[in-house]
Point group: C2
Chain length 198, copies 2
Amino acid sequence: MASGGPEIEQLIQLLARLPGLGPRSARRAVLQLVKKKEQLMIPLSAALDRAVEAVRSCEVCGNIDTMSPCSICADPRRNDSGMLIVVEDVADLWALERAGVGAVKYHVLGGVLSPLDGVGPEDISIEALLGRAHEFREIVLAVNATVEGQTTAHYITDRLAGSGAKVTRLAHGVPVGGELDYLDEGTLSQALRARTEI
Amino acid sequence: MASGGPEIEQLIQLLARLPGLGPRSARRAVLQLVKKKEQLMIPLSAALDRAVEAVRSCEVCGNIDTMSPCSICADPRRNDSGMLIVVEDVADLWALERAGVGAVKYHVLGGVLSPLDGVGPEDISIEALLGRAHEFREIVLAVNATVEGQTTAHYITDRLAGSGAKVTRLAHGVPVGGELDYLDEGTLSQALRARTEI
């Protein structure tokens, strides 16, 4: 029911397609936008215009940036570590950057192998990864600890055999600040096996 | 940490100010936008541009629309009922329209009286309401059932005395589909007192 005319209705429908927003919260968001037209709606409109103009995928690693190669790939200080972190998604890359993991480079697969969903090796960025693997001393497979993620990690490990790079994965264990009581048994037993001396 | 350049970072910060979105979900929303540039980001950018251009507040009732007086105030079929529904917010007006309450008109207060927050009668649209009250036979105070809402309803009822219009409020009771067990005592006792014959 369009109480605010087609422009408003269309804005609600588009915002409702963002993750985390449904029809109801999109409606509240649009009301907020209209109420704060000067402080919020006009700046957001301008920011979107600029982003549409500027944002592109990095042709080397798959990161999202305003330049290609992206600012991470183009950063010469990141060449020294010789470490390439392979992630499923740009969101994972950003999460690692926020964690301040250091002067590393990344490779975004853009998905995981999933035979059931018809996602094969040619559907994600594996060939590009194999093509640049020789530039690195260590390749960290930071894929999610899901069945598909682990399948993908196994497949990549096989394909990287003979590349000369050491292939590693993230440690499993108790999250910092996490309570043991709420952890699954798999994580707990892995955390015990990988215990370290204090 | 700006992993995607200043354009992306600014977009995240603006989206994070929408109700229902925080920094984390704003980041996910921006990633979704960038991934679906053609299907989502460009249409959303265009829809926002159009809305910035077109959207205004109705000078009569305070509704948000692309014309003023708004399509509801301008609708001649809504003159017959003689009913004016007073709401706190445009969201409430939209909710009532979605509920299909019929050919009524609205008045958006744009807030409620709240002495603690320094919101007095001159800060919300009460004078405008008094100015148009004589056009209606019945004025329904559909303000929220909060302390501030009820204070506002009392104040408006006092000011409307002598206007000739009947002043009513929404019924309290059990929400349709609601379970008694989860209802507060106040609602339950009001629902019992206002019981109707089957």
